[in-house]
């Protein structure tokens, strides 16, 4: 499919796919302190002013992940950032009941243009993807570069040239997005139609006020 299979000596690159890296989940409401006098639970706000480091217990799950760090940084930076890879159906829930190829075709091409939070990865036996997968740009992992280099046995594949170009642009687009309310330029009628579908949309001032012909200076 869209993958290459680098040998173990090949250096780390953006788009390298690893199976079995640790994803840590934190709670700032329940910080589990592991100190010599025993375990304690605290809120992070109680610890935020501590100048000394503290030891805590964190849950870790072994997950699939793809290198997000750019090639120039994968050579020498201390840490490598990766994004978690999960089953596509669990990342893009629009596809949870999809089975027909025609439906999949629309999701993979059209939805990919709209929803910039994920990147589609097709199944591949060699890589170890039995099902359609997706990179979730919102869930990141950070691991030491040297440690990751020593674990290249866990690298099961790499995006090929076409896919890597696409991935590189998609991840850049994701982080340079800016939030805006898409209904801002709609006129009154268009906004009414929009609100029936998305009731949360709140009109902007220029959409709220109907023009008053008597006070219109024109």
């Amino acid at each position: 499919m869209i993958y290459d299979y680098p040998d173990q000596a090949s250096p780390l690159r953006q788009g390298d796919i690893f199976l079995g890296l640790p994803r840590i989940d934190l709670s700032l409401q329940e910080v589990l302190l592991a100190e010599t006098d025993g375990e304690r639970i605290a809120k992070w706000e109680e610890l935020a002013g501590q100048s000394q480091p503290v030891n805590i217990i964190v849950p870790v799950r072994s997950v699939a992940a793809i290198v997000a760090t750019q090639d120039c940084d994968t050579v020498r930076s201390r840490d490598i950032t990766l994004c978690e890879i999960r089953e596509f159906r669990n990342v893009e829930r629009k596809s949870k009941d999809t089975s027909a190829p025609k439906k999949w075709k629309n999701i993979i091409t059209q939805q990919a243009r709209i929803n910039q939070k994920w990147f589609y990865l097709p199944p591949d036996e060699v890589v170890g993807f039995a099902d359609k997968m997706a990179v979730d740009f919102l869930v990141t992992l950070r691991v030491p570069r040297v440690d990751l280099e020593s674990l290249r046995s866990l690298r099961k594949g790499r995006l090929n040239e076409i896919a890597e170009e696409h991935f590189r642009e998609r991840i850049a687009e994701f982080f340079r997005r800016y939030p805006y309310d898409e209904w801002y330029p709609l006129n009154k009628e268009e906004l009414e139609a929009y609100v029936t579908e998305y009731p949360d949309a709140k009109p902007f001032p220029w959409q709220r006020l109907a023009p008053d012909p008597e006070n219109d200076p024109r």
């Binding site: 329940e30 304690r40 849950p59 893009e92 829930r93 025609k102 629309n106 939805q111 919102l138």
Partner: protein, 125 residues
């Protein structure tokens, strides 16, 4: 001490004058912060001034310095002990597991919510 006292008084006078102006009233919600900040600045000024003056007026008292050092150590140690509530190892592990499961569940819930929003493509036909 006289210098410090003067600083404190002067600051109080400035504050009360400032509150009478429109400028200060305009941001009255933040006013307590400003007063607090000025008060802290005044206290810092007090401290600085007293340290600066004390060598002239008195010899350092070694017992007092040692007591201050010991007090600081005790304070830090107490501060470290009061953070958090002791729990058993098994409870810590149970909470840790719960944190992970909750994180995964919340990601799924948000994905569900987002799937119901945005452009609904006719993915079927």
């Amino acid at each position: 001490m006289n210098s410090a006292y003067t600083v404190d008084l002067r600051d109080g006078g400035q504050t009360s004058q400032a509150t009478a102006t429109d400028f200060w009233r305009e941001s009255h919600e933040r006013h307590p912060e400003k007063v607090f900040g000025l008060s802290i600045m005044a206290n810092v000024a007090c401290l600085d001034v007293s340290f600066a003056v004390s060598p002239v007026t008195a010899m350092p008292d070694p017992w007092l310095l040692e007591k201050r050092r010991r007090d600081a150590v005790v304070t830090v140690s107490i501060y470290q002990e009061v953070i958090g509530r002791f729990i058993s190892r098994s409870e810590a592990l149970r909470i840790s597991r719960h944190i992970l499961e909750r994180a995964e569940r919340e990601r799924m819930e948000i994905a569900e919510w987002e799937a119901k929003r945005g452009i609904q493509w006719e993915v079927g036909e």
